[in-house]
Amino acid sequence: MSYENPNAVLMVEDLTVSFDGFKAVDGLNFYVAPNECRVIIGPNGAGKTTVLDLICGRTKATGGSVNFKGHELLKMREDQIVHAGVGRKFQNPSVYEDLTVFENLEISYPKGYSVFGALAFRRDQQVHDRIEEIAEIIFLKDALGEKAAFLSHGQKQWLEIGMLLIQDPELLMLDEPVAGMSVAERVKTAELLNRIIADRSVIVIEHDMKFVEDIATRVTVLHQGKLLAEGSMAHVQADPKVIEVYLGH
């Protein structure tokens, strides 16, 4: 039932992780094509966030393979995975509260990753221009000098998206990007996401079905760590197994 694509950017095969015998993700297969926006849905505890954790190296897999453009991600460290071109946004906004918006973006600027590179890093015009460009996109141009701790919840979410954007990843993973936002913020975020997913592959976890319908190329439904259904939004919504899982209890 899994849709295979030989040109896939990301190939997840037989991915399994167990915590003391409990299989949070169990033999999962899926493929993400270039420029695709894949949305992962599923009930609580289905293993959605764990899948993202496994891909970005935060959790070590028990078995299987995650291949990204020829790199075996399961054997790489988190920072190496980032350098390979995978960016990850966390569910709760994860920004550096003690630093300003500018500094948050500067740390994410893809230069000077090594110890001595970081020592030698200078804020040149190019860095300034790029940071301002990103700040413009994420609606924070006027708050560059602000400490991130004083931003609103929604602004922190945007900042974190901006921190990913400045790295220009080929695969962007977003965990519930509109959770906890006001209606107005939600609309702005949808607009923002629609702009940034245009020329890269994206994996999104989201509960808001309206939002999913807007952005998804394909939808993957997870249940108890396993793949339940995959296909277009209309296709999975019509799938009796999906209806059973969501409504059957």
């Binding site: 935060r58 920072d79 550096y96 500094e103 740390i107 994410s108 990753y113 110890v115 301002e132």
Partner: protein, 386 residues
């Protein structure tokens, strides 16, 4: 700093986006100048050579405290074993000085002339191979930095690569301090045991015990301290400094911003170790001995309090804190030795509960605003104060 709504502060920052500012801001410049005046002018003029030497000894602890600001204040890594590096640096230089003091002529009465006296007392008849290179001053000075830094590199690599941090790191560094102390005391034939390496006399023929030598060494020490302060400031102001702060708050996020967190922690731990080692070497040459009582758990944790009193986030504060605590210690333990220990204990508790940002924090919240009011700045700041 009070909560400001994004809108009002946006108006402040709209005009000028943040630039990388001067090497020192106004407060830091004033602090640095005040410290330089104190160390290079006031103390040498006001104190007799004995007291000046005493303050020189205090300043050697300041090297450790500055290293701790980087490791603990900025990086969130609290090492309770900085005495290890202070001691290793101190011992490296002490070994050279001891060999020079143990020339065959000086030690003619020993059963084996030409080796340090404590070896002779312990029936050792030949200089151990690992003492041999310490005949060379160049080698010894290199060893002062290289041995502790390498040691820190090994410990740091082993621990940070496996993501051991927080209190576990503190406990293990403390255990290492205990192990090294027991080792030095137990192997007295090779290390001088509990008394340490004593009776150091000359350095390349220059008598380090004379008042004149002590005064010169005091200034050398002060110069080295300012060099370390400048280096520490450079590190803090670089992107690496901001990465350290980011790491302290959200280590995970830093990884996913593409940084190898462990290598940054190892670097800053090694730098802190190197600073401590320079302090240890300067201690040896100014005070004339080195002993395990500067290596163990108690001195290591006392060095943390020097840093905490000054302000764990302030490089200059660490120096002021070190001077203040040690000066108070000397003052009190001469007059009321019993009260000092109680006072020191209370200081540990107070610095945690009442003023966690130390002297630097008190300065920032109480003194600096008054100065700002008295002497307002001509230009408005482009970056809100940190």
């Amino acid at each position: 700093m009070t909560m400001t709504s994004p809108a009002t502060s946006a108006a402040l920052t709209k005009a000028a986006p943040p630039r990388q500012g001067a090497f020192l801001d106004r407060t830091e410049t004033m602090g640095a100048i005040a410290l330089a005046v104190l160390i290079f002018v006031i103390l040498p003029l006001a104190l007799d050579p004995f007291r000046l030497n005493l303050f020189g000894k205090y300043l050697t602890y300041a090297f450790v405290a500055v290293g701790l600001v980087l490791c603990w204040g900025a990086g969130g890594i609290l090492s309770l074993g900085q005495g290890v590096f202070f001691g290793l640096g101190g011992y490296a230089l002490a070994m050279f000085l001891k060999l020079e003091a143990s020339s065959p002529e000086n030690t003619a009465i020993q059963s084996t002339p030409g080796i340090p006296d404590f070896m002779d007392w312990n029936q050792i008849t030949e200089l151990p191979f690992w003492w041999q290179p310490f005949h060379s001053l160049t080698f010894s000075i290199l060893a002062v930095i290289a041995v502790p830094a390498f040691f820190a590199f090994v410990i740091g690599t082993a621990m940070f690569r496996r993501r051991v941090g927080g209190v576990y790191f503190s406990i293990i560094t403390q255990a290492i301090a205990a192990i090294l102390t027991i080792l030095i005391i137990g192997q007295q034939g090779f290390t001088g045991g509990v008394n340490g390496i004593t009776d150091l006399r000359t350095m390349k023929g220059w008598d380090i015990r004379s008042d004149e030598a002590k005064t010169i060494l005091y200034f050398v020490n002060g110069g080295l301290l300012f060099a370390c302060l400048a280096l520490a400031q450079f590190v803090r102001r670089s992107k690496l400094g901001r990465i350290l702060i980011a790491m302290r708050d959200r280590e995970d996020r830093v990884r996913f911003s593409g940084y190898d967190v462990a290598s940054f922690k190892i670097f800053v731990f090694c730098l802190g170790a190197a600073f401590a080692a320079i302090g240890g070497a300067m201690f040896t040459v100014q005070v004339g001995f080195m002993s395990p009582s500067f290596v163990g758990i108690v001195p290591s944790i006392e060095m943390v309090i020097f840093c905490a009193v000054g302000g764990r986030n302030s490089i200059l504060g660490a120096v002021w804190g070190t001077l203040l605590v040690n000066w108070a210690k000397t003052l009190f333990s001469e007059a009321f030795p019993e009260l000092w220990q109680l006072g020191l204990g209370a200081l540990f508790i107070a610095v945690v509960l009442i003023f966690p940002d130390g002297l630097a924090g008190l300065w920032k919240t109480h003194v600096n605003p008054r100065i700002e009011r008295l002497f307002p700045r001509r230009t408005t700041p482009t970056v809100p104060a940190e």
